[in-house]
């Protein structure tokens, strides 16, 4: 009987989705996205779109293999943009009404009067909400798999990791949508509050990433200043020793030699003053960086702790990139890009020295962040364990579901 009921609920969910226009609109848009990806290609000169080729320095087959190119397009456009933003919003719009409709008077009475435990009924209904995304992402992944295989020449089964990842990502939001739907019985409230929750997660992630970048930058600056401070002290000590030596006039000093010594002494004194000023400035900067580093660490730790307790939507989606592309594959591309930046920087240095610094700064990937800082940030992100990303997110989902289940099981309808 359990299997019969479960199949009936799943069948009904499929009919419901089938009846919703949004399901078919989303599927049509998915097909359009896959077709768009299929129209883009890469050759020895650059990127091609249908019959036209656009020369690009970095993107050509000498640097990027067609397989990697299509994988990057799939991850960057198909996965990160379409599946995790546009399709997710459409999926939320489609599924937000499932639970409020389900618990509406007249409908829920019929379901609860059947020989099925409330908990099982609720969890099965929850699973049907994920069916929408499951079907969409499965169709999209199959189509993308074919495009990457045919156009890129590589049949990479790992692309189907997108299915569980997108399902997990959507389930983080959907559990909140379900809880709000159960509590308020309102589709609009469920949808709007879920989108708000998603926005809060986005802000939290952006804040944590930005603070981490600033923290890493402060650490790097502190290390640079510390490295600069030590030679300065040595130089000052040496200068003082030289000045002390020069200050002592030999007994048989001629007037000419005295004049020379005093001139040299004045120069050394001036140099010492400069060094001392630099030391003071460095010490001041160091103190400032150390203080801000402490504050940044504190705030980053706070945000990181909050983030640990909440679903990690961005990191979950980043996992696909970890699975599909290796560091070796992307390093070639990164090196080529770095080289391109340097070449561009050199050309501009010759052309416009005043503009050079600003350009280089922009090229380093942000306002004042060096490539090494950005690289360290990426390394840290990649080093975050799958358990931390998925485990804590699923734990949050389980907690929210437990609350929703308790409300559903105990409520009088």
């Amino acid at each position: 009987m359990v299997l019969r009921q479960t199949l009936a609920i799943l069948g009904d969910a499929y009919r419901e989705l089938n009846a919703k226009k949004m399901f078919w609109i989303t599927l049509a848009l998915s097909a359009f996205v896959v077709l768009a990806i299929a129209c883009v290609g890469i050759n020895s000169k650059g990127i091609s779109v249908l019959w036209w080729t656009f020369p690009v320095d970095v993107f050509n087959t000498a640097i990027v293999s067609p397989a990697l190119f299509y994988k990057l397009i799939f991850i960057g456009f198909g996965f990160k943009f379409w599946l995790t933003w546009a399709a997710t919003i459409l999926a939320l719009i489609s599924t937000a009404s499932l639970i409020p409709d389900f618990v509406a008077g007249g409908s829920i009475d019929l379901m609860l009067s059947k020989p099925i435990a409330r908990l099982r009924l609720f969890l099965t209904k929850y699973a049907t909400g994920l069916l929408f995304v499951g079907l969409q992402v499965m169709v999209f992944s199959v189509a993308s798999f074919l495009v990457i295989g045919i156009r890129g020449g590589v049949w990479d089964w790992k692309i189907f990791v997108a299915v569980p990842l997108v399902l997990l990502f959507f389930s983080y939001l959907y559990c909140v949508c379900v809880l709000i739907g159960i509590v308020t019985r309102s589709t609009i409230a469920a949808l709007l509050l879920t989108v708000l929750f998603w926005f809060v997660l986005f802000l939290l992630h952006s804040g944590e990433q930005s603070l981490n970048l600033f923290k890493l930058n402060a650490e790097e600056q502190t290390a640079t200043l510390e490295a600069r401070a030590e030679p300065l002290s040595d130089q000052i000590a040496k200068s003082k020793a030289v000045i002390a030596q020069l200050s002592e006039a030999p007994t048989d000093e001629t007037a000419e030699a005295r004049g020379r010594r005093e001139g040299e002494l004045a120069t050394k004194n001036a140099s010492l003053t400069g060094l001392e000023l630099r030391q003071q400035s460095t010490a001041k900067d160091l103190e400032s960086y150390r203080a801000s580093l402490g504050r940044l660490k504190l705030w980053h730790d706070v945000l990181f702790s909050v983030k640990t307790a909440l679903p990690k939507t961005s990191e979950t989606m980043e996992l696909l990139q970890r699975v599909l592309t290796s560091s070796d594959e992307t390093s070639k591309l990164e090196d080529a890009e770095q080289q391109r930046r340097e070449e561009r920087g050199t050309r501009r240095r010759d052309a416009d020295a005043a503009k050079r610094d600003a350009d280089n700064e922009a090229d380093r990937g942000g306002p004042g962040f060096s490539p090494s800082v950005v690289r360290r940030q990426e390394e840290i992100n990649r080093s975050r364990s799958v358990w931390w990303i998925l485990g804590t997110s699923v734990a949050f989902e389980a907690l929210v579901l437990a609350v929703a289940c308790t409300i559903f099981v105990r409520r009088d309808f």
Partner: protein, 343 residues
């Protein structure tokens, strides 16, 4: 196996709590529905009828409930596989056709695929919806939805069906059809519990009824049992040109001594005489459901050369019973609708 399809003892439901108004919807309901009978649950708005039915169907959890449904404790989920339920204001998914609705709820009741397909076709014909079987529910009228609703309650060949306002929004032809379906179900041995405001409909089909008032069963039994003490015979008598009151007093002097208007027969039945005017027919009432005690009175009246114009056995209607149940015996006013507040 118990003889009762439903046997409830001390069912209590208190809504609300710390943050909301407390409403005592059911206050110790004791009720029995025999197997194979058609049972009517009556009561004014807010009496707790739907709450009671929802407790039986596990839609609402009772604060306290003892008793059984089909021999199993109230709230036992597997028992519901043998029950068919039509809620009031039911709402079927409007993207399903009538056939799909029946098949879906059949599957939820554990009916096999083959069986529910067969049953769906039979039941759609049974409720007169065969022609509309493959039309989506969104295109149905209220009456058609009600018919499909009834059909889905029968897909699992239940031992007990509970219909909450089954004739709601149904035209007279549909009501007659539903009445016939009810009788047909009883003939097949199914217990039917009806919850309705249409007393005349219930009176036509119900074997037993219970009247629920302010969360308590005020009376229950067969309609005869409930009305036996209220049944009477009315004898209409005239005396031509003579004064009817004098003639009646004289004829019934043995039972109405000293010109009294009320007396007692040998069997303890009450006898009452009512005179509107000396020249208008008098009305004599004997409080009995049995015709035998009335015969000596008729004889006495005829011997006194009075004309017996009519002898009518009077049985109170369900509506009379209902109105009596919802009337405050002290003030004579109709009780306010709704459940009682507070514990």
């Amino acid at each position: 196996m118990t003889d009762f399809a439903i046997d409830l003892k001390d069912v209590d439901k208190l809504y609300g709590g710390v943050f909301s108004r407390r409403v005592h919807a059911l206050r110790g309901v004791d009720m029995r529905v025999g197997r194979g009978e058609i049972f009517g649950l009556l009561g004014p708005n807010g009496a707790g009828k739907s709450t009671l039915v929802k407790i039986l169907m596990t839609v609402i959890r009772a604060t306290r409930a003892m008793g059984t449904v089909l021999g199993r404790p109230v709230g036992n989920k597997p028992t519901l596989a043998r029950v068919g339920y039509l809620p009031e204001h039911h709402r079927f998914p409007d993207y399903l056709t009538g056939r799909q609705v029946i098949e879906f709820y059949g599957a939820m009741s554990g009916v096999s695929r083959h069986e529910r397909r067969k049953r769906a076709a039979e039941l759609l014909d049974f409720v007169g919806m065969g022609k509309w079987a493959d039309t989506r529910v969104r295109g149905y009228s209220k009456g058609m939805r009600q018919r499909v609703g009834i059909a889905q309650t029968l897909v699992n060949s239940p031992d007990l069906v509970i219909w909450d306002e089954p004739t709601d929004g149904v035209d007279p032809v549909g009501r007659r059809d539903i009445r016939q379906m009810t009788v047909e179900l009883k003939r097949k041995g199914t217990t039917v519990m009806l919850n309705s405001h249409l007393l005349s409909e219930l009176e036509m089909v119900c074997d037993r009824v219970a009247i629920l008032v302010q969360g308590k069963v005020s009376s229950q039994g067969t309609i005869d049992e409930l009305t036996v003490h209220r049944q009477r015979y009315e004898i209409e008598v005239s005396a031509g040109d003579s004064h009817v009151d004098a003639g009646v007093r004289k004829a019934l002097a043995g039972w109405l001594p000293d010109g009294a208007l009320e007396g007692r027969l040998e069997g303890g039945q009450t006898l009452k005489a009512n005179f509107d005017s000396p020249h208008l027919p008098a009305l004599i009432t004997v409080s009995t459901a049995d015709a035998q005690p009335v015969q000596p009175i008729i004889d006495a009246l005829r011997n006194a050369r009075l004309t017996v114009r009519a002898v009518k056995p009077i049985r109170p209607s369900l509506e009379d019973l209902f109105m009596e149940a919802v009337t405050d015996p002290v003030t004579g006013r109709t009780l306010a609708p709704g459940a009682k507040e507070g514990a």
